[in-house]
C-alpha cells in the first residue's frame, strides 16, 4: 500500500486514481451488513495490508522533541475519561440508560451512504496512522 501511495503523491493523476479506488471500495463495503461474510472480507483485507505495512515499515518516529509533560497529560486524561465512562456503561449493563460508544454510534452506520463514508474515513485514518 505504502509504495503505491508514495508514487501517487508525486503524480496528481495517480493520487486521484488511488482516491477513486478507495472511495469505490468503501462504497461497495458500505453495502455489506454486519455479521456477514462479505463484511468480514471487506474489513479483513485493508486490516491485513495495514498490519503487513506496519511490520515491514522502517519509518523513523515523527514525534517533535519539545513537547511539554502537560501537553502529553491532556491526551492521557482524555483516554482515561473515555475508558472510565465506557467501562462504567458496560458494568451497568450497556443498555438504553447506560449506552456505550457503540450503542450511540451504530445508528449512524446504518444507511449505506453513511456506512460507506465511515468506511472511507476508517481507511483514511489507517493510512494516516501508517505515516506516523
Amino acid at each position: 500500500m505504502a509504495p503505491v501511495v508514495a508514487r501517487a503523491r508525486s503524480r496528481p493523476g495517480a493520487t486521484a486514481l488511488v482516491l477513486v479506488l478507495v472511495l469505490a471500495y468503501s462504497w461497495v463495503a458500505g453495502h455489506f451488513s454486519t455479521f456477514t461474510r462479505p463484511a468480514e472480507v471487506a474489513t479483513f483485507i485493508p486490516g491485513a495490508i495495514g498490519v503487513a505495512v506496519a511490520i515491514r515499515a522502517r519509518r523513523p518516529s515523527t514525534v517533535r522533541p519539545d513537547r511539554s509533560r502537560s501537553g502529553w497529560l491532556a491526551w492521557w486524561l482524555i483516554v482515561v475519561a473515555v475508558t472510565v465512562v465506557e467501562v462504567l456503561a458496560l458494568v451497568l449493563g450497556a443498555n438504553h440508560d447506560h449506552p456505550t460508544i457503540s450503542d450511540l454510534v451504530n445508528p449512524w452506520l446504518d444507511p449505506t451512504p453513511a456506512r460507506a463514508l465511515w468506511f472511507a474515513l476508517w481507511l483514511g485514518f489507517g493510512y494516516w496512522l501508517s505515516r506516523r
Binding site: T43, G50, I55, A57, A74, W122
Partner: protein, 67 residues
C-alpha cells in the same frame, strides 16, 4: 431520557470537544502541546507499538463494520 444516559452522553460530547480543542491548540505556533500526530508517532516509535496501533485500528473497523 434518563439522567444517567444524559450524563454519559454529555461526557462523550465533552471528550469529543476536548479532542477537537486540543488538536487545534496543538497546531498553534509556539505551543508545546502534543498533537494527535505526536501521540500516535510516539506510540508508533517502535515496531511493537506500530503494530499494536495498527491492530487497534483494525479492531475498530472490525467492531463497527463486522460485529
Amino acid at each position: 431520557m434518563s439522567l444517567s444516559r444524559d450524563l454519559i452522553i454529555a461526557v462523550y460530547v465533552a471528550v469529543v470537544l476536548a479532542v477537537v480543542v486540543l488538536a487545534v491548540a496543538a497546531h498553534r505556533d509556539g505551543t508545546r502541546l502534543a498533537s494527535l500526530a505526536d501521540v500516535f508517532g510516539r506510540l508508533s516509535a517502535r515496531r511493537f507499538g506500530r503494530v499494536a496501533v495498527t491492530f487497534g485500528w483494525w479492531w475498530l473497523g472490525w467492531h463497527f463494520f463486522v460485529r
